[in-house]
């Protein structure tokens, strides 16, 4: 009897396991047939008052300054579209576990058939999301005239999949006192007339001879997206690249001579001890380092903190990225996209997208975040020569997006590994290894 019962229990457990496994193969979710959420078919959801509900998911906390700015624009939309009976609902999912945590939330929603009509997403994910049909093609829904008003667009294979919320750019913050003491004049170097790689090295050499660490290139920031975001323009400036135009080939691009030249420039700075992996996070702010590579988000820090070394804007300035073959600078931030969820009628979602990317919304949100507006027609009267002006002009003139590839996360990982290895490793070996890893990753996901 005991043996019989044990057998029955075992059979039931095996059956349960098989069921679990089979469910994995069987298409998994209830959203696969487009039915998804509550059987409201292809049209948008409506509430009891007959309003069409459009859901929009943000990557920030509702209580944050940025979150509050989004909510205000949503409230304004609901007031403006009351007569058209369209109502927007904001969902806030703060990135508690980084961008991958937010992405997991998106995927769970897609699996459950509850994916919002509009989502925010990090621009480098455009290719992977578009390739996976997560995003809706809005090429024909946004006029060319309107598209031209943005500094950058979320394009993949010639199609438009998203519009940026705001823009970013980076540059070299410098300590004017250290530069004055070392007798270095950099006033000629502007976004319109950037300095060259050689001029950059010459300034570093003078700073070193003055007894300070020349520049914090952030080569230690290889655990996340910081190093790729700040350092990729050097490779483009040297004439290099990472992948082919279609984003599917890394060989011949990531390991090309021009790309190697860009990385070699960074390695030379390390070898000459102009920069190092050992620079402390606050060394620039405490006057130990001459220059600091960072994005616009450092401006409020320099304006409000570290008053001991930077009492006013007379004590610090911002220099553009140096150029070699061409000028290139960092761009990119988060964007909006309409999703390919079970609502086939995208009319209401399109209205909300247009509203959230309008000049008014762009201005309201960038006023809250301090970032550069995504639209060229949102004029901010920055004083010529000011850090904000330099960032904006640089974005206009030399802004270049990160590589568009379906395997962007792997690109980011390999870029970090190359920067990590530059100190002791051979550039060519590092790039060949990175090329192989990236190509494998592209091959694995391109047809999914």
């Amino acid at each position: 009897m005991k043996r019989l019962f044990a057998s029955i229990t075992l059979i039931m457990l095996v059956f349960t396991m098989l069921l679990g496994m089979v469910s994995c193969f069987g298409g998994g979710g209830n959203g696969g047939d487009g039915g998804g959420n509550g059987g409201d078919g292809g049209s948008s959801s409506t509430d009891s008052e007959g309003n069409t509900i459009v859901k929009i998911m943000f990557h920030v906390d509702k209580s944050s300054t940025e979150g509050q700015a989004y909510q205000k624009r949503i409230n304004a939309f609901n007031t403006a579209y009351k007569d058209q009976k369209i109502k927007a609902q904001a969902i806030f999912k703060a990135r508690s576990a980084g961008a991958s945590g937010y992405e997991t939330e998106l995927m769970n929603n897609q699996l459950e058939g509850t994916l919002a009509d509009i989502i925010t997403f990090d621009a480098p994910n455009t290719a992977a999301y578009a390739n996976s049909e997560l995003l809706y093609d809005i090429t024909d829904l946004i006029s060319e005239e309107e598209q031209n008003k943005f500094f950058s667009l979320n394009m993949y294979e010639g199609k438009l999949y998203g519009l940026p919320i705001q823009e970013s750019s980076a540059g070299f913050f410098y300590n004017k006192k250290i530069f004055r003491d070392a007798g270095i004049d950099v006033s000629a170097y502007t976004a319109e007339n950037p300095w060259t790689f050689e001029e950059f090295k010459a300034v570093c050499a003078r700073l070193k001879s003055h007894g300070v660490t020349a520049v914090d290139m952030r080569i230690d920031a290889t655990k996340d997206e910081t190093a790729p975001y700040l350092l990729y323009p050097f490779i483009y400036a040297a004439g290099g690249s990472f992948v082919s135009a279609d984003g599917l080939t890394a060989g011949g691009y990531y390991n090309s001579a021009a790309t190697a030249k860009g990385f070699q420039f960074i390695k030379d700075l390390i070898s000459a001890e102009y920069t190092s992996y050992a620079i402390g996070a606050t060394d620039f702010f405490t006057g130990k380092v001459g220059m600091y590579l960072s994005s616009g988000w450092t401006i409020p820090d320099l304006d409000n903190k570290y008053r001991e070394n930077f009492a006013s804007r007379d004590d610090w300035g911002l220099l553009p990225y140096p150029k070699d073959v061409v000028a290139a600078s960092a761009t990119g931030s988060w964007s909006y996209a309409i999703t390919n969820n079970h609502h086939t009628d995208k009319t209401a979602a399109l209205e909300l997208l247009k509203w959230m990317t309008s000049p008014e919304s762009s201005e309201a949100i960038t006023n809250a975040t301090g970032m550069i507006p995504a639209r060229k027609d949102v004029v901010k009267n920055y004083e010529a020569g000011s850090p904000e002006y330099t960032l904006l002009k640089q974005l206009e003139i030399s802004g270049k997006e990160r590589p568009v590839t379906v395997a962007y996360p792997t690109f980011s990982t390999t870029f970090n590994q190359v920067i990590f290895g530059l100190g002791k490793g051979n550039v060519s070996d590092l790039l060949n290894s990175a090329k192989n890893t990236l190509q494998d990753a592209i091959d694995e996901v391109k047809d999914r």
Partner: protein, 323 residues
């Protein structure tokens, strides 16, 4: 997926209910002390724990087991196909090509071999130290246990400051007082993993110390008195009384520390990032599943890792079985 999960849960509950009914039905025949009310109460009290274990342990394992044989791509959760053993073939290829997975296995083994004896040895030493009645032993207990209650993220950041490169790092500035030049501890492949081993042993040994202490409290004092009367030295007392008394505690600690060590993720992730000299199996799985979004491949590695850990644990249990 939710529907299937509910169905599986239903079947599991049916099996659990069946077992309870069978137990009730046969208890009388087995001539055990038989009370329907208390037996039913016992099973009802057991049910929440069993349910939670099923939902958060067994069910994810089942799904992971299934996904290991699929091409599940995180961005296409509704488009999953059965790919037979393809993921496992890729794993073997990556190991044979000495790719990142090879490094992950090598680093994980290095970590396990380093941290298990160090952490258990430290825990035993600390337990023996604080077990002796002396002034301030309670304060020492609290101090030694304190790192356990601090999250791994916090301790990792703390050790990042200690091991920071250049003269600004705490360890480097200390060594600098003796004329030793600064070293980049976490970038150097020779020193990065040993540093992570030391930090992990320091962080975790307080917990095992408490378990050893409870084991020590179960050893009768008169055994030491008898050994002492027989002229046994301190070492002989330790080896023939303390160690024998702690044997079952040691086996438990060995298995739990081994399993914990195999799963190391937070320290390399926060301290070095995804680098070949510190990547571990769990970190590789995380990167495959969440960064590269290849859930199928990640699940296959998880399955192999589960089999490996389970196998070693069984061997450990067999080797240390009471005769």
């Amino acid at each position: 997926m939710i529907d299937t999960s509910i169905l599986i849960l239903g079947l599991f509950l049916l099996a659990f209910g069946g077992f309870a009914v069978y137990d009730l039905a046969t208890a009388k025949r087995r001539r055990e002390v038989y009370r329907v009310k208390s037996t039913v109460t016992a099973y009802l009290m057991l049910l929440p724990a069993v349910l939670l274990a099923f939902l958060f342990v067994l069910l994810p394992i089942l799904y992971s087991l299934g996904y290991a044989f699929t091409d599940y791509y995180l961005l296409k959760p509704n488009d999953i196909s059965f790919v037979k053993l393809e993921n496992f073939v890729e794993i073997i290829e990556e190991i044979s090509e000495k790719g990142m997975l090879y490094n992950a296995i090598k680093n994980t083994l290095t970590f396990v071999i380093g941290v298990v004896p160090l952490q258990i040895g430290l825990a035993l030493l600390l337990a023996l130290f604080v077990n002796r009645p002396c002034f301030g032993s309670k304060i020492f207990k609290v101090c030694f246990f304190a790192p356990v209650v601090i999250s791994l993220s916090v301790t990792s950041f703390l050790w990042l400051q200690i091991l920071a490169p250049g003269e600004g790092g705490l360890l480097n500035s200390l060594l600098g007082m003796f004329g030793i030049p600064p070293h980049d501890w976490l970038r150097d492949p020779e020193t990065a993993m040993p540093c992570i081993i030391v930090l992990s042993a320091w962080q975790g040994c307080g917990y095992q110390m408490l378990i050893f202490l409870s084991g020590l409290s179960n050893i009768r004092k008169d055994l030491y008195e008898a050994a002492s009367l027989d002229g046994a030295s301190r070492w002989h007392q330790f080896w023939n009384v303390t160690w024998v008394g702690l044997r079952s505690t040691f086996v438990y600690i060995l298995i739990t520390v081994f399993i914990g060590a195999c799963r190391i993720l937070t320290q390399p992730m926060l301290m070095t990032g995804y680098m070949s000299h510190t990547v571990t199996l769990s970190y590789y799985m995380y990167n495959s599943g969440y960064t590269k979004r290849l859930v199928g491949e990640s699940s296959a590695v998880a399955l192999l890792m589960t089999i490996f850990i389970g196998g070693i644990t069984l061997i450990q249990r067999r080797l240390f079985r009471e005769k």
